[in-house]
């Protein structure tokens, strides 16, 4: 999608209640969300968000990624005014949160991770309730817009409880954008959606983005985040691990290709470690990682690199010990794994 891409280092801060940033001086970019040392501690000791700093600029799609329990939902709950920050400053749409959360409501749309609507109401009744809740004057027009956008027109008389999973998800999203919000927060909006519903959702997000709505999106679908987001923020253990454009993030772990090699199960741990050590010595530690008996090598020219890698393997464990080899482009998921590691997270996400 075509849009201006801005990186944090290029901004000049203009002192005002709401900072103004610009790339060329004449083209100002407003920050819709500004977090300064934003911190959330539960029960006086569980640090969910640890003094994070970031901005979400007007009109951008801001991908907010992180493993389970990283602090994404907690951050979102503070942005939406549901939770109070323990420390730090949070400006949303020029208002201090949570003190001025009432002033933000009319401009903030929120689509929670869970399916949140009244089960016993029809699609139309749920939308009508939220249109009333937002005091919409053009309620019929906005309900029609939301039902059209999310493909709910034909099911507006159906009881929400009787909808399919994908239809429920679409209703969940429609309720968040009825009131033409300036900032739309989407927390895992595609969870449980079928591919068709997902495709419709991503198209809708692109359309909303083109209408200059700022979108803060959390998702575990890296490919989607890569495609839709102007900038990506990766949060882990309550801290921001990386924040940049998807292209810049991918450069961090090396431009080029990813080679993934799976070895047969009979290969001993010693042999496996020996191969890994040799590959690290050849390509550098930063570019070699592993999960069980699979090795991942990041390199600029994958095809040529294979002529180096295969002899290393053959000389260590002999021929016919490779189960599978794949060669592909570097992805955001590689960046994500590279930054957050590949260990399963025992820590449960603190549900906001």
């Amino acid at each position: 999608m075509s849009r201006k891409v801005v990186t944090q280092t290029k901004y000049l801060l203009i002192t005002r209640k709401l900072p103004v940033f610009y790339i060329p001086r004449e083209q100002y970019v407003m920050a819709t969300v500004i977090a300064k040392d934003l911190t959330k501690i539960y029960d006086n000791h569980k640090v969910a968000v640890d003094a994070i700093n970031f901005e979400v600029f007007e009109g951008e799609v801001f991908g907010f990624l992180g493993p389970n329990g990283a602090g994404k939902s907690t951050t979102i709950s503070m942005i939406t005014g549901i939770r109070k920050p323990t420390a730090g400053t949070l400006l949303v749409l020029d208002h201090t949160m949570p003190r001025e959360h009432r002033k933000v409501q009319q401009q903030l749309g929120y689509v929670p991770q869970e399916l949140v609507f009244y089960d016993h109401l029809t699609v139309g009744e749920n939308l009508s309730l939220f249109a009333t809740s937002y005091n919409l004057k053009n309620r019929e027009e906005r309900i029609q817009y939301a039902t059209d956008l999310m493909g709910l027109d034909e099911i507006s008389d159906q009881i929400a409880d009787q909808l399919s999973g994908g239809q429920k998800r679409r209703l969940n999203v429609a309720m968040g954008l009825l009131h033409e919000p300036k900032l739309l927060v989407l927390d895992e909006p595609s969870a449980g959606m079928d591919p068709q519903s997902r495709a419709m959702l991503w198209q809708s997000i692109e359309r909303l983005s083109n209408e200059n709505i700022t979108i803060l999106l959390t998702t575990h679908l890296m490919e989607t985040a890569d495609r839709l987001s102007d900038r990506i923020c990766i949060i882990d253990h309550g801290k921001i691990a990386a924040i940049d454009t998807p292209q810049e993030l991918k450069k961090r772990i090396g431009e080029g290709d990813i080679i993934e090699i799976s070895l047969v199960e009979t290969v001993t741990d010693e042999s496996y470690q020996s191969i890994k050590t040799t590959l690290i010595n050849t390509f550098g530690e930063k570019f070699v990682s592993n999960i069980d008996h699979s090795l991942t090598i990041t390199t600029l020219d994958g095809v040529n690199a294979l002529s180096t890698i295969l002899p290393i393997i053959n000389s260590t464990i002999g021929r016919h010990q490779v189960k599978n080899i794949s060669l592909r482009d570097n992805t955001l998921e590689d960046v994500f794994i590279s930054i957050t590691g590949n260990q399963l997270r025992e820590r449960q996400e603190v549900i906001a």
Binding site: G81, K84, P98, L108, E114, L129, F130, T132, S133
Partner: protein
Amino acid sequence: MRRLLELTKVQLLNLPRNRSMAFATLVFPLIFIGVFGLAMPNGVQNNATLNIGIINHDLGIPESTIYVNQNGTQLNDYFFSNSFINIVDDVTYDDNTTSIFDVTHYDIANFEDAKSDLQKNSISALLIIPEDFSIGMLAVIRSAFNTDANMTGITNNWLNYPNPTYQTTIQIMGDPTVQDFSIASSILTTIIDSYFNLGADTEGHNVLMNTDIAVDTFSVFDYILPGLIIFGILNNMGSTAAFAMRDVEGGILRRLRITNVSGTEYTLSIILSQLVFAIIQIPIFFGVAILFGFPPTIRIAYAFIFAILVSLSVTGLGLAVAAISKSQDTVNSMATLVSLPMAFLAGSFFMVPDVILINNFFDGNSLGIFDLIAAKPAIEGLRLILIGGQGLGDIAYQLLLLITLTIIYLLLGITLYSRKHLSPED
């Protein structure tokens, strides 16, 4: 206002579209009153006579007091207790043949025998009429005529009358944990109230002299019905709390919180919808009671007001329970922990001895600890209306106390619920 109405409509739509809600509102009263009606120890149609004792200490009207009845006859040495005891002796159940009481009359000297019979459960209650019973009655009569501008021409002949504020105390002894005592004491209380209320009426005064007071007849089921209805309404606390908690756990409340819906609008929508549910449910309670033999009467309309007020107070407590409960799983048991003791302490099934906090709190009524449970003045009010046959004017104390408590309960519920679920979370 539009948001409030829309939210209330949303809550109300639960009734036609949510089976458990429909069951709780429409079927529960049917089953509840029906089961109790069928399971009454003596059956609805088979009223048992209760054994009670009476000791009469009444010294009558002193000779120094001149009392003239409506025929101009001077009645010194008149004993009001005699007419009162006649009523207790003669009062019957609905069938007009079965006596409610089999009365043993004890001499003053035989008080110990009476106590012994009480301990052996030979009698279920002992009514002790005090020495100043007749003076107390005269005080009530005088208070009635004091408010009569014309004094009906007979007060000039009255001398040495007791002060209108003079009060006499009638004791009913017995074991509150014995059901027969609860029934007997309730009926006796109703008769006493009716008797003295008649004295407080200028027309009733004339009737009183004929010693032929009509006391409504009723069955054991009639007696227990007010407590049952209030117990049934208290039972709604769990569904109200679950109702309020469901929106919390489902996340809809959080989502509504970031719209223009205010906490007040949301809580008011819960209260209004619960009020409508009560307006639908309470007539079913009374309707089923009538099916089981409760006499249909216009007084049920008054009782309806009491039941509605209790429903509102239960809504307040339901909101409070939703505020202190951790999840929807625990909300029902938490509500039961609150509602069940309340039902018993308020006297839904039998009277529980109270601890007096303030004597002569309002209009001669004392305020006990359990009077602070809204269900208690409600049960008392319902009994006075449905069994005692008294109008709203006669139960001002119970009504005012219930209104006050309902407002307090609602404010408590709204405050706790708003703080816990409608403010930004820590």
